[in-house]
């Protein structure tokens, strides 16, 4: 699979994890999108440095060719999936502390 295909799959799978598996539903929460917007701003700076210098190079055949601040747009999808899986897992683990039985 190309980086483009993998990145799209990752966003879909992690979104399904958030909504269906962990049921943290961060995708519906203002706090998540606010945190993501802050992270995105810093990602554009940090990833711009890493891909602008460049520290990392991409095979042209594996990406769409669309770039945002030097980085292939696929990096934004990678970052989104990384952040959503992390935060969904964090919230999920935070709610599985001992408490009254909930519906399964």
């Amino acid at each position: 699979m190309t980086y483009s295909e993998l990145a799209l799959c990752a966003v879909a799978l992690v979104s399904a994890f958030d909504v269906v598996v962990a049921r943290t539903r961060l995708l519906t929460r203002r706090a998540f999108w606010t945190a993501y917007a802050i992270m995105l701003g810093f990602q554009l700076i940090v990833n711009g440095v890493l891909t602008g210098i460049p520290v990392v190079r991409y095979a042209p055949s594996t990406i769409s060719g669309v770039r945002v601040v030097y980085a292939p747009i696929e990096d934004l999808l990678f970052g989104f999936a990384l952040i959503l899986l992390t935060l969904s897992t964090w919230v999920w683990l935070g709610r599985t502390r001992p408490r009254a039985p909930s519906m399964r």
């Binding site: 990752a10 203002r30 945190a35 210098i53 919230v91």
Partner: protein, 108 residues
């Protein structure tokens, strides 16, 4: 060269005030943090190994410290997969601190 490692260290230093000044308590919940990082590192580490194996991306040697893990994974990439998720959790918890009325989903 220390460039890539330096960028990652800068991310940790840059977010440290969230723990030290805003008292988000993320590092204090280190067990929950480790349990969060484990699956993320495994899943995205596998993605990195696949991409490197397939030649989808590669790293310019002069900007790395030169330590390679199995699968030719630069150690910076493993550190990246630890540092960026930590920054993400710190950011979410900082938003919670500033906006306590915005539910995140793990409230009692």
């Amino acid at each position: 060269m220390l460039l890539y490692l330096g960028v990652l260290v800068a991310c940790l230093i840059g977010t440290a005030p969230l723990e030290l000044c805003l008292h988000v308590g993320v590092y204090r919940q280190w067990r929950r943090l480790l349990a969060t990082l484990a699956p993320v590192v495994v899943i995205f580490g596998a993605w990195e190994l696949y991409a490197i194996h397939r030649g989808q991306w590669r790293y310019v040697r002069r900007w790395l410290i030169g330590v390679r893990l199995p699968g030719d994974l630069p150690i910076e990439e493993l550190i990246f997969l630890v540092v960026i998720p930590i920054c993400a959790v710190l950011t979410l918890e900082a938003v919670r601190r500033r906006r306590p009325d915005w539910a995140i989903g793990d409230e009692e």
